[in-house]
């Protein structure tokens, strides 16, 4: 694309296809490219990379800052939710490690009391990260969260990371369970829910937007954690999530190891999109 002198229809089509293949969705891709078409005489092909970076930053800026909310001198609760297999438990392991590296006192709550060996998996992560865990294997998830909050407050933890079972957003009773967990947090630790994060697998298609809509209604999302970005999928649906729902992307998972966690950076993201 750099060899061309001006932006022509072929190049516009090529760019639109790239955006579609990145799972931005047809509407978002068309919108971005139509705006470029209107401005094409003002932009040289060599400037496209910077143009797209600015455009995408503009697209998602309505969603606010991608900074993780962590208040000093108090307990910070993170509620981690999302559909099955998206990477929640692994993300908690990575976050626990990162926060412990920062010298914070971290507790994780094994809120998935349903899936086979879910608590064992989280416990291995908590040991790797060097943090404490609350688990009660046959209990109700809300009860595990309740007990974790009591411990976190009594023993002055800085961070409490709450793991939840994967669930499909079209399962009413499972979303009700999640609302109940949030009610326990709001009642037992008012104002201490610093982040309510939806974990989205970068390979997800347009259904990711629906997931965000439903989880947003159930647990008032403050951000998205985009996982498996070390694969070939680009997770473009997060652009639509930021634009349509105003939910910022805060974290990015780039592998299966404890250190494979980054903050979301719009420039880097767009760079990878067009690389």
């Amino acid at each position: 694309a750099q060899e061309k002198e001006e932006i022509d229809d072929d190049l516009l089509d090529e760019m639109e296809e790239k955006l579609i293949r990145a799972d931005l969705g047809v509407d978002t891709a068309v919108q971005v490219i139509e705006k470029l078409r209107d401005n094409k005489n003002k932009i040289k092909p060599s400037q496209l990379s910077n143009y797209f970076k600015d455009e995408f930053k503009e697209l998602i800026k309505g969603a606010g800052t991608g900074q993780i909310n962590l208040k000093p001198g108090q307990l910070n609760i993170f509620l981690i939710t999302g559909v099955n297999g998206s990477g929640k438990t692994t993300l908690i392991g990575k976050l626990a490690y990162k926060f412990r590296q920062q010298g914070r006192k971290v507790l994780v709550a094994a809120g998935d009391t349903f899936r086979a060996a879910a608590e064992d998996q989280l416990e291995i992560w908590s040991k790797r990260a060097g943090v404490d865990i609350v688990r009660q294997d046959d209990a109700d998830p809300a009860s595990v969260v309740y007990n974790a909050i009591q411990k976190a407050k009594a023993e002055n933890y800085d961070v409490l990371l709450v793991d939840t079972a994967g669930r499909l957003h079209n399962r009413f009773n499972l979303m009700e369970e999640l609302r109940k967990i949030k009610k326990v947090i709001d009642r037992e630790a008012p104002g201490l829910l610093s982040e309510s994060l939806l974990v989205i697998d970068a390979t997800v298609g347009q259904n990711g937007l629906k997931q965000a809509e439903v989880f947003q209604e159930a647990v008032s999302l403050t951000g998205v954690g985009l996982t498996k970005l070390d694969g070939t999928a680009k997770g473009g649906i997060v652009m639509a999530i930021a634009k349509e729902l105003g939910i910022p992307i805060k974290l990015v998972g780039v592998g299966e190891k404890m250190e494979d966690l980054k903050s979301f950076n719009a420039e880097e993201y767009v760079e990878a999109l067009f690389s």
Partner: protein, 291 residues
């Protein structure tokens, strides 16, 4: 609906609601948009559109009084045909019969392994499940717990990190103990991870599984075509399992993976319970993709 959108497109252009060669491209653009919104990979959408273009320009649509509905029917029929293939049952070849499951991280392999073992036993065979994921924390425990739920034994070696050795020992164990089907659960992996793809290749060469099933999450987007194609090119898959179909994604990935590999979807994962593994119904999938 697609039918209404097509009808509006055709009406706008011709003024009388009949498809002509001229407005066909606009109508097909609507079909393309619908398929992309359903997560069918772009490459597959293009091939699909060019295939149905001939059928659509044929006599039937040109003379139809509801060309929009007629075009939708052509799209639906084509989807069913492409998704259908023959209803290929799971192979029982091999002494023991070896079934290997693989795919991306979190796609549902471990859950499917236990479901499949249950189905195989209900079919009168004597299955053994093999825990060959040596990386994921508590992977073995997860499979052992599911094995208990379906009352099927799980072969595992807690301290081994040697997948080749685990599967070799498992097969020997199966032969000695009279298990005639061995279902091997493997670790999730990226199709671009050369080391982990080589691990699968080694297992394939050594044990020649009768079934090599790619497990795909039905909410997958555009990358479905590249993922499936890579696994197929490197391993030669024999079939596909689409999981989490109890969700509300349109499931276009199903068309992407079937078209790019030419292999059939053998099962549909419809939930987290052990009985939630159903045959794959092309008509239902086609309806779902069309929304």
């Amino acid at each position: 609906t697609l039918s209404e959108r097509l009808q509006n497109t055709i009406k706008d252009i011709s003024g009388k609601g009949k498809i002509t060669e001229e407005n066909m491209n606009d109508a097909l653009r609507e079909v393309r948009r619908a398929l992309l919104e359903a997560d069918v990979s772009l490459k597959v959408v293009k091939a699909f559109i060019s295939n149905i273009k001939d059928k659509a320009i044929g006599e039937e649509v040109l003379k139809s009084i509801t060309p929009g509905q007629q075009l939708v029917k052509i799209v639906y029929d084509e989807l069913v045909q492409l998704l259908g293939g023959q209803n290929v049952p799971i192979s029982t070849e091999g002494k023991p019969n070896i079934i290997m499951l693989f795919g991306l991280q979190g796609s549902g392999k471990t859950t499917t392994a236990a479901k499949l073992a249950l189905k195989i036993r209900k079919g009168g065979r004597n299955p053994l499940i093999v825990a060959a994921d040596v990386y994921r924390p508590a992977a073995i425990k997860q499979l052992q717990s599911l094995g208990k739920q379906v009352n099927i034994p799980v072969y595992a070696e807690e301290d081994s990190k040697d997948v080749r050795q685990i599967v070799t020992s498992a097969i020997k164990f199966a032969k000695d103990e009279g298990y005639n089907s061995v279902i091997v659960d493997t670790a999730g992996r990226l199709q671009i991870d050369t080391e982990l793809m080589a691990e699968l290749l080694i297992l394939d060469r050594l044990f020649e599984p009768a079934e090599k099933l790619l497990v795909i999450d039905s909410m997958m987007g555009q990358e479905a075509v590249n993922v499936a194609q890579t696994f197929d090119e490197q391993l030669g898959i024999t079939g596909i399992v689409m999981t989490k179909l109890d969700g509300d994604s349109r499931g276009g990935a199903a068309l992407s993976v079937v078209q790019s590999t030419g292999k059939p979807v053998k099962f549909a994962g419809m939930g987290e319970k052990m009985d939630a593994l159903e045959p794959f119904y092309p008509e239902r999938m086609a309806q779902r993709i069309l929304g």
